[in-house]
């Protein structure tokens, strides 16, 4: 996969805009969680793991990994057993509310992306703590940031 929801937590101000926007975009059930600590905050969402524990754990092969779009769900196969929820190392997979609630996690706003629009969390973030980035850019940014901190 070549594009990621990149979280630069040094820019996050814990305003929770992404979380609220995500909930609105997805009918009330947000898929992104801002973890606030005393000196920083981290928006947490599905990392689209390549060797995804949720995919590996799913007994019905309802969760699949696709090289182009990341982790996907085949709704018809899902039994809502919840093993994926238990397996997710980030705690960002959860079963939707109510009967028939499918496992939900960030799909980087697939529908919006198909229309050529940015994920809603990226759009709403006032400090550009969230962005969609290619893998190479992510690594570059990290290196620049890391060395920049040290040099200055």
């Amino acid at each position: 996969m070549d594009s990621f929801l990149f979280v630069d937590f040094t820019r996050c101000i814990a305003c929770h805009a992404c979380e609220t926007a995500c909930g609105r975009e997805h009918g009330g059930a947000g898929r992104l969680y801002v973890m606030r600590f005393e000196n920083a905050a981290v928006p947490l969402a599905c990392r689209q793991c390549e060797a995804a524990p949720c995919v590996a754990m799913c007994p019905e092969d309802a969760l699949v990994y696709d090289e182009g779009s990341g982790v996907g769900l085949v709704v018809e196969r899902c039994t809502r057993c919840g093993l994926c929820v238990a397996a997710c190392p980030f705690g960002v997979m959860r079963l939707g509310a109510g009967p028939g609630g499918d496992p939900v996690r960030c799909d980087r706003c697939r529908r919006r992306r198909e229309e050529g629009r940015l994920p809603v969390c990226v759009l709403t973030c006032p400090t550009q703590a969230l962005s969609v980035q290619g893998r190479a850019v992510v690594q570059d940014r990290r290196r620049i940031h890391f060395t920049g901190l040290r040099v200055s």
Partner: protein, 689 residues
Amino acid sequence: MSPLRVRTVCPYCAVGCHLDLLVENGRVVGMAHAVDSPVNGGNLCAKGNAALDLLNHPERLRTPLRRTRSGWEPLGWDDALDLAAQRIQDVLRRHGPNALGFLSSAKCTNEENYLLQKLARLLGTNNVDHCARLCHASTLTGLAPVLGTGAATNPLTDLARARCLLFVGSNLAENHPVAFRWVRRAKDRGAVVLVADPRKTPTAWIADLHLPVRPGTDIALLNALLHVIIRDGLEDKAFIRSRTMGFQEAARAVRDATPQWAESVTGVPARDITRAARLFARSKPASLIYCMGITQHHNGTQAVRACADLVLATGNVGREGSGLIPVRGQDNVQGACDMGALSALLPGYGSVMDPRSRAALEALWGCAEGTIPDRPGLTVTEMEAAAGRSLRALVAMGENPMVTSPNGNRVAEGLGRLDFFLVMDLFLTESARSAHLVLPAAAWAEKSGSKTSADRRVQWSPRAVDPPGDARADAWIITRLARRLGLEPFFPYKTSEEVLREINRAVPPYAGITPERLQGAPAGLHWPCPQEGHPGTAILFQDGFPTPDGRARFFPVPFEPPPESPDADYPLCLTTGRVTAHYNSGAMSRRTPALMDLSPELFVEIHPDDAARLGVRAGRRVGVVTRRGKMEAVARVASTVPRGVVFAPFHFPGTNRLTLDVVDPEARIPAFKAAACRLEPVEEKNARA
């Protein structure tokens, strides 16, 4: 058919973000981010993202309600307005106009604020005020004699161009998140960020230097900063010489305000004070951003002037990227002030005591000479104190004093003594519950009008949909009420546009801000805009100051400790503030599920050492007691709050039962920010095993 897209101005804070509503068949079916907005570029905070919940909310008031012995009784508009007019006339006849009070609203449009103050003054009273009294009254009184105008000198977008940003008592990141985009941009360009705040807030997270000042000692810190700047010869001598007066007196006043002295008063290390002063003076242009941490004190007016002194001494006025930025809280608090919804000031800031200002307005209105009283009326807190005594009837438009005013128990008693209490609001708020008559009002997207954001940016926000049920715009309600009170000739308006045209004539800085121009201005217009064709003024004081001699004035500011300091009985200091998920009295945000998920209950922050010493456990309820009242809240134990300080947000009923109603002598703003308190254990009624 794709839905109609209507651009409105967000109903929450004073950044003035654009929010696009998607309308289909007369209903809002969704919202879209205004990506091309010159204000917010599509960004919105949590509250803005959740704003749609306010439209068609199940708890919205849909019909006028009268309180009876058996509960609330719905009634039609004719009956409701007849009742209101009759009760107001009763009071007028028996007690005279000064027995009437009007609480205007920073959540209503310029037109509505203009109409309500016009109604009050035509009835013969200056008892009209609004919640600016509780947030930035000290900005008006503080800055008027210093700069000539009590408003932000530069647009918020300018923050991105500053080389140094000094925040004093402002938690911009949490309370105006979208404005923080410009702070972040400045930081990306290498700007220095300094934050003076008792707590390590998200604003302080990106600070190069955090100055954890003790609540109520900001003046000592600001004086010491000025002391170091003068001592080190870093003041802008050319600016001081050519554009200001009174520098020598101000310099003398801070001669003894050494960093060492300030350390003993504020708790901020002397070396950090010295470093901050040098950074601020050497990094130009620099901007000073202040908020309630400065204004809400018994000496708020003086604290504002201490901020201004610092900005003047460093020549940071009248140029891009510099400035003094009082960040306003509500979407139209700047506008409500501009419209004269203040007990001592007429539209455009003429004093009620100035015969010429009164005469000009009387001529414009076509009323009899001497209609407008020549003495200031009662302020918000004075009306509450006089309620049921000299004040017999109160009309509150979109205000919730039961939650927002200090010493809340006293407020509740006062409101309960009124002969007639009329509330116009979206919801049956805590205050509305004690009203005799409640009138259902329209929300932002259900009415048209102009609003003025924190940086004097006037914007038009059009009606996108109809209000629910029988709810009506406040302008409609005021106009109909005024006509029933025999003021028909003075309230001929059919549209907000007509009211704005009158404002163009009544408020000189708005003279060129006509409805036609405003509706066609995607970025709004910054006042002063003195005539048609004027582009508006984003940056104030580029050439001169609107003072008699065109110069700004330094004010020597003495430091005085807060009126209530911790003692043996009340050993801790209670300070109040906001959280990002909520908004003021919570009337809107506490009814929004997405926001309640983020911040569901009243809490207090306590330092881990204090918590350990007092046996307070994180997540458990604790009692907070001051000389005025008591509340219970969930304890949050965090070292972001200093030892000896307890922080409580004021969005939930409770906090303001504890706060201090001592007021600043000039601004009459209450000292919300520092009260002595103690913590008490709470017996857990339903303690879980």
